[in-house]
Symmetry: C3
Subunit: 490 residues, 3 copies
């Protein structure tokens, strides 16, 4: 009977484990972090509680490095120094590389940075930061502001408009409207303009004055000169892999009408299964096992996560260059085209001397774009992910559908562009700025909204975005409207 | 060994508690409620099951009053009388204040009311009802129908349009179209027009005939003359605090395109964290602990919930006057402006003798609006919630961004209004009704949809609603379109 | 004491059951399926894992038939033959009715079909397939392509538009654009055009070449000639009832702007409760118990599920003819009208000799539509579902609201149609194609988007879709715009 009772206890013990007792691994905190927590537990209780629920609070760089390679969440090899043996706490992140941080300041006896930058995260996550900073996301701000055509477009939409004394429409540049719209996703350049005394719950303190802040855009330029914001996808202060793998994270910026990736996903079969079975899936495991951890892919599964099958075979390698599995660029420009070789797209020059990868008559700037061989390589990488759940022939047909959607929407953009050109030739509108007048507005919609939607719908199988929701219905109406406008004065 | 076995049982007992056994507190039901349940368990099984899962079925007013103040969910002090010692059941709510209820009728031997009104809920939740009935929500119906400008607007959109014999467009008022659109959120006036025999599963019964029913609008006027509908946010018959704290509840009415609060929230960092970590949060605890119960705020957290930190320190007091933490009113009117002092906004008169808090040239009706001192008080209340998770300087910069969005969108509305005025002066359109003709339609969109969106996007950081989704992109297109229309005939 | 210890173990045992141990029922696999799994576990691990989590992998037709009738998930009576005693595995489904399958081919020693069709599923689910194939869903492709008016509409929107040498707009039919938009939901005709060698992970294999594939539209015509795709709602390879009962499944096709059922649901009280209490509901139980399994209905609850109360009394019978509980058809046509008797709507002829259930002046083709008696029968079936949670008088008033919405939106469509007719009479536009020119585009929006939305909003109480989101606001603006366009040249 003694034995049976002991067995009973074993069962209870296993149950306890299953129920999550004993989950807390006790790792030491640095003295500095303890000091931070002492005040901030009452000053900013939300931050502290969020961090306490994070993996950062329950591991150390040394422990994290002990994991087998496929399970490892850090990439900088052996990390030495003061932070290697303590939890990744407040001070460990906010004190790094102080010499580069214009936002470094003294705060109750410690010198800390306001903004933790990718360069700081690279202390442990070196590979991810390197990949990210060589991606289009890493250059997202410069892609807009260093490109005169995009700058004109941004200005056309975000400048403040006023009538002058002669009732002519004038415009005034507005940093705030840019920061709150385009740059909210693309990132601002956060600069330090001095120090300021601020009243807080603990009395007056002196803090750096940050301009163009707060901002969490993917191409943010930080007070240490680095590019990017890891918190765009791994929000503070939990920094979880789980949130980054769930689609609404990407949906903060990639949503309709201009980049309807999230909306198309939600309408797709993948998105429906995700929506309905989310609670049965595991979004934290590393590596991420197709079929076991997830039965429908999220954005991360196809675009950047480390994916394996149930037997530790690699399906896809992790990458933080989010375009690196893509061969065609389907949004943001009049014509879909092969992915650019460089993330600095403002350096591209096309045959019409525009800083764009295609001309307005769809001639690609081939030297700057990936070739057929690289296209095949990337299709193969993405295809391997698809083939976790789909047969080869299914996958090939699906990719042909996407090729076709690119070709036929480009043809539609060509027609729209010809109609706009006729409007210019007939002097109905002024070609100086192609973004502002009524027919030009229709032209912009034809590619920026409608052709984009159709291509996303083809890429991810979300039918309405190819149909009535900014799809063929709107694109055809738009072309008919332009045709009517161009020809009505004849 | 005996001791060990007992310890084993203790563990099992704790496990049982964790797993939720023993959750049912047995509270007595009144005889009347037992009678209701007897039939309704088979006649309307959904209602009964929903109520059985509610807190109302598991507590009594007396028990509810025993809780420590911060945990208490009722506010009427000691409640005496028949219902104090029984569960809050069918009869306890549906029999209250019968003398005021025009919808009171005899039903199988009991006299009951069809509609349970805020005045009835006030039996236990006095403070909440008082606050609510002095809020703009409580006056939501009168705000529309007692204001001639809003009435004109409602009529312009909801009247039935027909061509007469001369092909002139005529319109006919439609109560039904108003009830199903504007008044569905704002509330109808529910009246009783007599009694009617109705065939039911239990044979013919006689019931009151309710007009403008069903309706769950926040400003509903009930058959007892009271204003409001608690079920707008605490739906029948569970009446949970959990649902009221979750954002889709507010999203029933506060959604794009006219009040895109819910959509902006969903796109925001807060909304993303909520979406992804909802299952890890607790939406039932009272008080609601920042960081512990929730790691991202919902609408309720910022606008009305009782929030504490982990050590029972108050961060924000509960309120059911949902505008009371707000200083600026950012939707529903051409210009954003300081919050009105009175919830009865139809009593406001501006410098142009309009019943609006601002004139069409943006002169605020200062006497009716809160002053700078009250603005500072409210910013401080809201700011305290922000500071649960954000530093003072971050919060200040965020609020400056909102101030700026208000200023620059008001400037854009001014331009749009000037263009509409020119259209009137040129006799392109008729100023009698500013809501119906094409240029006027653009004017309405410029503020009712686009400027609104931009301000919500600034208030809650949802970038696309300041950009391509009814934001600066649409606002600028709209102004350019109006400018083109006004000037093309020159 | 012995007894107490034993009691302790019983509790532990019950806990184990609750925690889900012992869930796996071991059912035998066929030899063929074992062979499939051997390769596919590594070739397509996602499919295998998904199937392993399905009920198909844990039961056999014989076991499924042993359940009491109300709990039974199959409908073909006693199933004999090879598959009756084994799990419903790869081979059991992919080998059926080979003689009819043009997509049958030899694959590593077995003959299998690429596409599992409804006729194959009917082996076990006969009743469901029969109902489905006699529903409008089952004819969804022919409803479009066999109806010349719908064909014109599809072509107007999905043809590729180009300018010819004289700058006249020309169009070219595109199968791909149709397949990716309209036919993505309505279904394609999947045909086999031969065999092709394909490179796979296991070397070169020969597979059938499928045209118009992949597709998951509800009216798909399969290589065995059957109509429909069960995977539209029961996605591969889990085929769960749970997903089919959740609203986002329907939302893949029934979403704004043209069929905003899902969006209106999400905004409704039902949708809000679902969104907030989803995790407390049970979507797998058969029968589905109102109030107990779900406290707010989903699409399936009202439109097709088998619903009972807590005491095994039938509230609604299961049906896979999804229109069979409906009496009025509120979308897809200029005027809402009584449901057609036949699912083959392309066989209807109205008084104007159009293949439509109503003329452009709203004369219904009565012989083809259900009569008042059948209308009453259907209202009663649907009403019984409503009455699970709502009183009779509430339900009646709600249905009157829907009747009214149909009547007044039809009046608005009549006005819009008269305005378009005037545009034709004034030769502003060309009546040959009523879908393409600017005023005609407005006419299409008036019914296809706005009147539809208003009716859905009335049917399911989602106020914004009757208001500012494609509702009365847009409908009135549209009528005013048309009136202005038609009259401006006078």
């Amino acid at each position: 009977m003694k034995v049976k009772v002991l067995q009973g206890f074993s069962v209870v013990f296993i149950l306890l484990l299953i129920l999550g007792f004993g989950k807390n691994e006790d790792v030491p905190l640095s003295e500095q972090t303890k000091e931070c927590l002492e005040c901030h537990r009452s000053v900013t209780p939300g931050i502290v509680a969020d961090w306490e629920a994070s993996l950062h609070s329950r591991t150390t760089p040394t422990l994290a490095n002990l994991k087998p390679e496929l399970q490892r969440r850090i990439s900088s090899g052996n990390i030495s120094g003061m932070y290697s043996g303590v939890a990744v706490g407040c001070y460990e992140c906010h004190s790094l590389n102080a010499e580069n941080h214009k936002d470094n300041f003294e705060h109750f006896g410690q010198r800390i940075n306001v903004v933790v930058s990718p360069n700081d995260c690279a202390t442990c996550h070196e590979t991810e930061v390197k990949e990210y900073q060589h991606s289009k996301k890493g250059y997202a701000l410069d892609i807009l502001r260093k490109n005169p055509i995009y700058s004109l477009m941004v200005g056309t939409y975000t400048d403040i408009k006023m009538l002058d004394k002669n009732n002519k429409l004038q415009s005034r540049i507005s940093e705030r409207s840019k920061n709150q719209s385009c740059y909210a996703c693309h990132g601002t350049e956060v600069t330090v303009s001095g120090m300021k005394k601020t009243e807080t719950d603990l009395g007056e303190i002196e803090v750096p004055v940050l301009k163009n802040w707060p901002n969490m855009g993917v191409g943010r330029i930080n007070p240490d000169g680095s590019r990017g914001a890891c918190t765009s996808c791994h929000p503070r202060h939990n920094f979880s892999i789980e949130i980054a793998r769930k689609p609404s994270t990407c949906g903060q910026c990639h949503l309709e009408p201009d980049v309807p990736a999230y909306n198309v996903y939600k309408e797709s079969k993948h998105g429906t299964i995700y929506e309905n079975f989310e609670s049965k899936m595991n979004f934290s495991n590393v590596p991420w096992v197709a079929g076991k951890d997830f039965t429908a892919p999220t954005c991360a599964a196809c675009h950047n996560s480390l994916i394996t099958d149930g037997e530790n075979n690699l399906i896809a390698q992790r990458t933080h260059d989010f375009g690196s599995r893509l061969w065609v660029r389907i949004f943001g420009l009049p014509f879909a085209h092969s992915q650019p070789k460089t993330p600095k797209t403002f350096e591209i020059i096309n045959a019409d001397k525009q800083p764009l990868p295609v001309t307005f008559s769809n001639i690609p700037a081939k030297d700057f774009l990936i070739d057929e061989k690289e296209t095949a390589v990337r299709k193969n990488i993405m295809g391997k992910v698809c083939k976790s759940c789909h047969g080869t022939s299914w996958v090939n047909s699906h990719l042909e559908n996407l090729d076709s959607a690119v070709a036929i929407t480009n043809q539609m953009t060509k027609t729209a562009t010809e109609l706009m050109t006729q409007a210019w030739e007939k002097e109905l509108e002024n070609p100086e700025n192609p973004f502002d007048e009524p027919i030009e507005q229709e032209w912009v919609k034809s590619w920026l909204l409608y052709s984009n939607s159709i291509r996303y719908a083809a890429a991810m199988s979300g039918p309405d975005y190819a149909g009535f929701k900014n799809g063929w219905y709107d694109l055809s109406n738009c072309i008919h409207q332009m045709y009517y406008e161009v020809n009505k004065e004849k």
